[in-house]
Symmetry: C2
Subunit: 485 residues, 2 copies
C-alpha cells in the first residue's frame, strides 16, 4: 500500500483514506472536524476521529469492514439536519458521510418507483419528476436540504404525513451495508409486503444503528389533480383543537392539518416569511385538502362550516398558488423562526392521541410556568404530533439544563396521555433516557438483542436510541442465569 501524503501518521486515517481513493476524500484535522461535531441537535458536541466521503457502495462496505475489524466506532451521516443528535460522534466515531452518493439512479413512472442514493436531497426528487406529474410524499420541513438516506434512518415525517404516512410508508426497497461490510438487499425489487420478516420496516427508523443504507427504492405518487388550503384564526386554543377533531370525525382526511399557538405565531411573524397573522389570536390552523378535483370544493365548504361552528374569528381559502406557498413557507420555517424571538430554542417531538390535545396543551402551559420558560407550539394537529419549542438563553447559566428538563417534562406529559416520545425526529442521544417513559426493561432488551444480530459489537452508531444499559444488563444476566439453571 502506497502511503499517502497526509498531515498525520495515524495508520487508521491513512488506511481509511486509501479506501476512499485518497487524501481529498477524508477530513482529519481539527479545524475541519469541527463542522461535524453536532447535527441539528446542537446541545451536545463531540469531535469525530475523521470524516470520510465514499463514492459508492463498495467503498462504504470496505469502510465498515475496516472499522469493524479494527474496533473503530463509526457512523453514517447525511445532511446532518437530524434533530435528536443521531449523527453526533459521541464516541469519537469515524463519520461516513454519504453526500457524494447523491444520484437519482432511476425513475419508473409506470410502477411509481424511483431509486436514489442515500445522499440525494429529499426535495430534489419531487423537483426531478414534477414536470411529469409525480412527487415524493414525505416532506420534512428540512426537505430542501435533508437527504433521503437520513429520512430513512429517522423515519422522517412532515406536514403531509397525515394523509400520506411517514417515510416508512414510502420505502419499497433498500440496499444496506451491514457493520461487518456485508451488503444485503431487502424489500425484493421494490415489491412491498415481501415474505419473511419485515426487515424493511425494521431498518427504516433504526437511526443508523443496524446498517448503512446505500440505495433506496421509494414510492412516488401522482400529483393530486387539485389542492386547496385554508387558514383559520381562533381566539381560543380549545376551539381550534375541537375544530381539528370535528374535521377528522366528518371523515375528511386532509393532506395536512397544522396548528400554531400564540407564541409560535409571534415567532413566525418576526422571521423571514411573515404573512400578517393577527398577533392576538390564540391559535391558527393551516388545513390542506387534495385529491381529484371533483369533491374538493365540497370538502372545503365542510371545513369552513366546522370552523364557523367552533367560533373561528376569521377563515380564508388560499386564492392562488403564491398565497398557498407563502402560508407554507411561514409554517415550514417555523422552528428556525423561533430564533427571531429567542436566543436559543429546543425542539421537542411528542405524539398523543388526538383526543388528548386540549389536556396536553394545558399541561405544557403548566410546564412553561413551572420552569419559567416560554414554550411555543407548532405541530401536526391532525395526527397528534406535537412540537413544543422551549425558548431559552444558553448564555444564562443553568438555563440550557432547565430547557432540557422542561422538554423532558413535555415528553412525560405525552407519555402519560398514552402517547409517545417522538413522532418523527427520532431518539438519537437526546431522548435515550426518555425511552423509559414508554418501554419496560424487557422491551428495551428485546430491541437491543435485535441490534446485536446486526451490530454485535455496537461499533456502528453506539450509544444512540436506547437508554444506558444499567438495569437492563442486570435483568439480562438474571434471565441467562435462570435459563442455565
Amino acid at each position: 500500500m502506497v502511503r499517502l501524503k497526509m498531515k498525520t501518521k495515524d495508520k487508521h486515517i491513512q488506511n481509511l483514506a486509501e479506501i476512499v481513493g485518497g487524501a481529498h476524500s477524508i477530513l482529519y484535522q481539527k479545524e475541519d472536524l469541527i463542522a461535524y461535531d453536532c447535527d441539528g441537535f446542537t446541545l451536545h458536541k463531540h469531535l469525530p476521529k475523521a470524516v470520510v466521503f465514499p463514492k459508492d457502495t463498495k467503498e462504504v462496505a470496505k469502510l465498515a469492514k475496516y472499522c469493524s475489524e479494527n474496533g473503530l466506532p463509526f457512523l453514517a451521516r447525511g445532511a446532518g439536519t437530524g434533530l435528536s443528535g443521531g449523527a453526533i460522534p459521541v464516541n469519537g466515531e469515524v463519520i461516513i458521510s454519504l453526500v457524494r452518493m447523491k444520484r437519482l439512479l432511476s425513475v419508473d413512472l409506470e410502477n411509481r418507483r424511483a431509486v436514489v442514493e442515500p445522499g440525494f436531497v429529499n426535495l430534489k426528487l419531487t423537483n426531478s419528476i414534477s414536470d411529469k406529474g409525480y412527487y415524493y410524499a414525505p416532506d420534512p420541513s428540512s426537505q430542501y436540504c435533508c437527504t433521503i438516506g437520513g429520512n430513512v434512518a429517522e423515519n422522517a415525517g412532515g406536514a403531509h404525513c397525515l394523509k400520506y404516512g411517514v417515510t416508512t410508508n414510502h420505502i419499497l426497497g433498500l440496499e444496506v451495508v451491514l457493520p461487518n461490510g456485508e451488503i444485503i438487499e431487502i424489500g425484493q425489487n421494490g415489491i412491498p409486503d415481501a415474505p419473511g420478516y419485515d426487515l424493511l420496516g425494521l431498518l427504516t427508523g433504526s437511526e443508523g444503528t443496524l446498517g448503512i443504507v446505500t440505495k433506496i427504492t421509494v414510492r412516488i405518487l401522482k400529483n393530486p389533480e387539485a389542492k386547496q388550503t385554508v387558514l383559520a384564526y381562533f381566539d381560543h386554543v380549545s376551539d381550534g383543537s375541537q375544530a381539528v377533531s370535528d374535521i377528522i370525525s366528518k371523515g375528511i382526511v386532509p393532506a395536512a392539518l397544522e396548528m400554531m399557538d400564540k407564541t409560535a405565531i409571534e415567532g413566525v411573524e418576526a422571521a423571514a416569511f411573515p404573512v400578517g397573522h393577527p398577533k392576538d389570536i390564540e391559535a391558527l390552523l393551516l388545513i390542506e385538502v387534495d385529491g381529484i378535483s371533483a369533491g374538493i370544493e365540497e370538502q372545503i365548504n365542510e371545513i369552513l362550516e366546522v370552523c364557523k361552528s367552533r367560533n373561528v374569528r376569521q377563515v380564508k381559502v388560499a386564492e392562488n398558488e403564491q398565497e398557498r406557498a407563502r402560508w407554507w413557507a411561514n409554517r415550514k420555517t417555523g422552528f428556525g423562526a423561533m430564533g427571531a424571538i429567542s436566543p436559543d430554542y429546543l425542539v421537542q417531538d411528542g405524539v398523543i392521541p388526538r383526543s388528548k390535545l386540549p389536556e396536553v396543551l394545558n399541561r405544557i402551559n403548566e410546564i412553561s410556568n413551572d420552569y419559567q420558560l416560554r414554550i411555543a407550539n407548532i405541530f401536526h394537529a391532525g395526527d397528534g404530533n406535537l412540537h413544543p419549542l422551549v425558548l431559552f438563553d444558553a448564555r444564562i447559566p443553568g438555563e440550557t439544563e432547565k430547557a432540557l428538563k422542561a422538554g423532558s417534562a413535555c415528553l412525560q406529559a405525552c407519555a402519560d396521555a398514552g402517547g409517545s416520545i417522538t413522532g418523527e425526529h427520532g431518539v438519537g442521544i437526546e431522548k435515550r433516557e426518555e425511552m423509559r417513559f414508554i418501554f419496560k426493561d424487557e422491551e428495551i432488551i428485546a430491541q437491543t438483542d435485535i441490534r446485536e444480530v446486526f451490530n454485535p459489537h455496537n461499533l456502528l452508531n453506539g450509544g444512540k436510541l436506547f437508554p444506558s444499559p444499567g438495569r437492563c444488563v442486570e435483568i439480562k444476566k438474571e434471565i441467562k442465569a435462570a435459563a442455565g439453571s
Copy 2:
C-alpha cells in the same frame, strides 16, 4: 398437583391440561386431533400432539414456558383458514388454539381504535361498530370466520387493500407472549411510529414464528360516506389489464380493483353465488370507489370512460346495495367456487409490478399448457397481487405433485418479473423453498438470526417460513470461522 382423570398417562398432556384448567380444555385423542391436521392448505397433513384451549394471556404464557422448558414443539392457531400451511403441526406440535380468547375488549371511537383478543373473528369487528359508522378495513375473503390473531400472523390482505393497505397498516399495538413465556407489549398504547425498532412491523406477518399474539390494538376507520361499484366485461385480457393501468394512472385510487379470467368466471358462475356473467368473455373487472359523496360520481364517470376506450363489451354500475353485495359474494367466494368445476385446486399468491400484468398472465397461460392443468385467475389487479388457481384431480396419481410444480412455476414467473412469491397468504410450509427465488442465502440468514433472538430453539412453529437450512448453515459456519480467524 392433582392428577386429572384423563385417558392418557402422558405426563406432558396431563400437565398441559392442568395449565388450562382441566381436561375439558385439551384434546389429545386421535379422533379429536384429526380436525387439526391441516389448515386451509390441505396438501400436507400432520397430527398434533395435543390441542389446548387457554382462556387468557397468563395461560398462554404458562403453556409457552412449559413447552419451551420441556422441549415440546408448539404453535398457535386461530380459525385455521390460512392458505400456506402456517398452522400445520409438521413436528407434532402442541397446538395452542386461541378460539376461546375471542373478546372485543374495548372500542375508542374518538381515537379510532379497538382492542381485541386474537380469537376475535375479523368481520365481527366491523359488525360491532358499523351502527356507529365505523369499520375495520382489512377484508380477507375468509373474513366471516378468520380471526384477527391469524390475520396479524399472516399480515392478511383483502380486496380493499389497494386503497387501505394490508393488516400491518392497521395494527397499532400488540401484546405478545414470547416462546419463553415472557409477556411484552409493543406499539406503546396504540401509538403508531413509536420510537426504537419497529417490532410491531416485525411481529406482524412473522407467521407465528416469533411469538404468540394475545391482544391486538387495531385502527378502525369511519365508514365512507359513499360507495359505488362497477362491473366491466372484456373480450380480451389485455384490454382489461390496460384499463387497470389507465384507471390508476388517472390518479384514481379505487377501494378495490379486482379481475377474474374466463376460467374463474366459469367457476363462480357454477357455484353458490352466480350473477349471470357472460361465459364467453375473457376478463371481468370489479371496481369499487369510496369516500366522501362529493366527487364519487365524477370518478365513476372517468372509470366508465376508461373502460369504453379499452373496448369494454359491457359495463354497469351497481344499482343498489343488494346488487353490490351480490357481486362481492360472487367474487369473495371465488376460491371455493373452483370446487364446482374441479375436484381439487391449489391457490397461489404472487405479486408483480402492475405493468407486468399482461406478460405474466401470458406466462401463466404457458405454464397451464406445459403442465396440462387449467389455471384460473382471480386477483387483486390494482396492486398486482395474482391468485392463480391450479385446478387438478388428486385422485389421478401424480397430479397433486404436478399441480404443486405448476404453482411453483407461477411463483417463479412472478419473481422473474421483479415480483414476490406471496402477497397476503404467507409462506408457511408451502412456499419455503420458493423463498430462494427472491432471497440470497445471506438475506435468509439475516432473518433466521432475528428468529433466534425471539425463538432460540425454534420450538415455536419450527420448519415454517424459511427454506430448509442446508447451504445457509454452511455459510453461517464460514462467517463464524472467518470472524474467529
